[in-house]
Assembly symmetry: C2
Homo-oligomer: 332 residues x 2
């Protein structure tokens, strides 16, 4: 199989450019058929790469850019004005077929806009969803959509379900993944207008393993592999997951610190707790793919470290090896 080239936006995210560069080197060590184009301030990037050995450096290229899109910038403006930003230039490499995949921890909105306007959607794909994996008691589920597709239509949600299923089956290796739609009750007649219209369409879609509605309380238990919803709801789910976990962490910390006995108890239990909570950590699963584009786009968490960049880069290889985009194209 031919070399596989990832365009890495090295200037995006809280830990840029150090962590993306480290992650790229780690990925290159792991995968000998991989090439990476580091996009950003070339002098800085070269300095960070240092000397990992000829085998690695021979598979690194640089694309020098002079601008950076900040996390809080309005996406549409940023994309149209900062033509020489690492994000825009790295996306152009995919558009121009100089790279197979794009990875970034940068401004989510800009990635979502850029994915659609620079790289473009596949023919037939109405909206390109962003689909992060969320941790569950059984492992992980794909939450689709958490992107910029607010006020989705039923036909969009059906495409999300289909693309999400293909992703879970072919990239994450879940055979015949279950698909459920986020709803306020288990019964078919429940739901807002969007869900009521979408439900029968999903039921009729033979290419997915649709199991009906999922109430939000059943998401963390891992009731469904692919969780379909409008991006507004997806955003609420994703961020509340984060918020509740963080708050419970604070509460536990307070409890452990409250007296000498509980501090001692904490000392004895902490490694077991950390180990269990680690299974609740998505780092190992890579970033969130943006599906249905003419190229591969992966958004990693804004606070991603080298391990997440590495996993995201390697994940793109799996997309290609599994012919993800071809399968999506054939099914949409």
């Amino acid at each position: 199989m031919a070399d596989f080239i990832v365009a890495l936006d090295c200037m995006g995210g809280d830990n840029a450019p150090e962590e993306p560069v480290k992650g790229a080197i780690d990925a290159l060590k792991k995968d000998k058929e991989l090439r990476v184009i580091l996009v950003g301030d070339e002098a800085t990037l070269r300095n960070l790469v240092q000397d990992p050995g000829e085998d690695i450096t021979s598979r690194i290229e640089y694309l020098h850019t002079t601008e950076v899109i900040e996390t809080a910038e309005p996406p549409v403006k940023a994309i149209s004005r900062k033509k020489d930003s690492s994000l825009v230039q790295a996306m152009k490499l995919v558009k121009d077929e100089k790279a197979d995949a794009f990875v970034s921890a940068g401004n989510s909105g800009a990635i979502l806009v850029g994915g659609q306007v620079i790289i473009g959607r596949m023919p037939g794909v109405k909206r390109a969803p962003l689909a992060p994996l969320i941790p569950t008691e059984k492992g992980f589920s794909l939450l689709i959509d958490c992107g910029a597709n607010l006020d989705s239509k039923p036909e969009n949600l059906v495409q999300f379900a289909l693309m999400g299923s293909i992703y879970m089956e072919h990239v994450m290796g879940k055979k015949n993944p279950t698909v459920a739609i986020v709803n306020v009750g288990a019964e078919e007649e429940k739901g807002n207008a969007l869900v009521k219209e979408t439900f029968p369409l999903l039921k009729a879609e033979e290419r997915i393993n649709f199991i009906g509605s999922i109430e939000a309380r059943d998401i963390p238990s891992g009731y469904a592999d692919v969780i379909v919803c409008d991006a507004f709801v997806g955003n609420v789910i994703l961020k509340l997951y984060e918020g509740v976990a963080k708050t419970i962490g604070h509460v536990l910390k307070k409890a452990f610190k409250s007296n000498v006995l509980s501090m001692l108890g904490a000392g004895l239990s902490i490694s077991a707790i950390k180990k269990e909570l680690k299974s609740f950590d998505t780092k190992e699963y890579g970033g969130a793919p943006m599906l249905g584009l003419n190229g591969m786009v992966v958004k990693t968490h804004g606070s991603a470290k080298a391990i997440e960049f590495k996993t995201s880069i390697l994940q793109c290889r799996t997309f290609r090896d599994q012919r993800l985009n071809e399968i999506i194209r054939d099914n949409i």
Copy 2:
């Protein structure tokens, strides 16, 4: 002040009829101006009351009913067919002004439907929201709406914000409570169509202390006192809160049981953990009020125990003493 009469649906919820009856007796012990009408199978209820003393029994009445609305029954059908259910008959007591307030742990949908069709909305109130309190690091916030008002309109959300503010200020004692709308980002231009239309209306509403958008990740920290959203989103938030907390509980339990040291650690820390988590428990705050009706309606959790029934009953007193409905009526 005249006696205050609560109609208690004793047949609703997982722990009916024992826990509602116990809760009623506890409330009657606490509040000497309170009267309760126990609605349900009279023989069973009389048997449960036993002999708490003349002071209590003199303030208990019974309304015998022969039907029970089950938790999973379709609400509209249940309300129209089961005319002699405890839920319908208890609501009728409020409608007919034989009771001041209605409390139930029964079928949420039936309570929401019954509230609107039996008791009825105040003039000017377009939709009557259900507003549970959710625990936060700072105490609690009011999540409005979690009811049956799917596909709300901007004007509905503005009424929710107003009623929620009044409730938090006058019943829960938060001076000048902050109000925020659930959104996918902090900026004013973000959001789906509903949020974009509602945002300027909330901003222009001088009777509330509107602080802008709230992202779901900031809900558990207690960023806003009143959290406004469409009921679909409210349901997702409420149930995910529950789901994530439960799953983290499972994970911790697994960690504590994983080896001898961590079990020992758990033994030492457990009382401190329980104490801290208790502050994360809404039992003491009572049930969720359904606001904007011609009477008081409180929905307690389906798994409510005596303490929650007691708190919910006493909470209705606060509504009355604080003239909640008069204030809402004057402001809508």
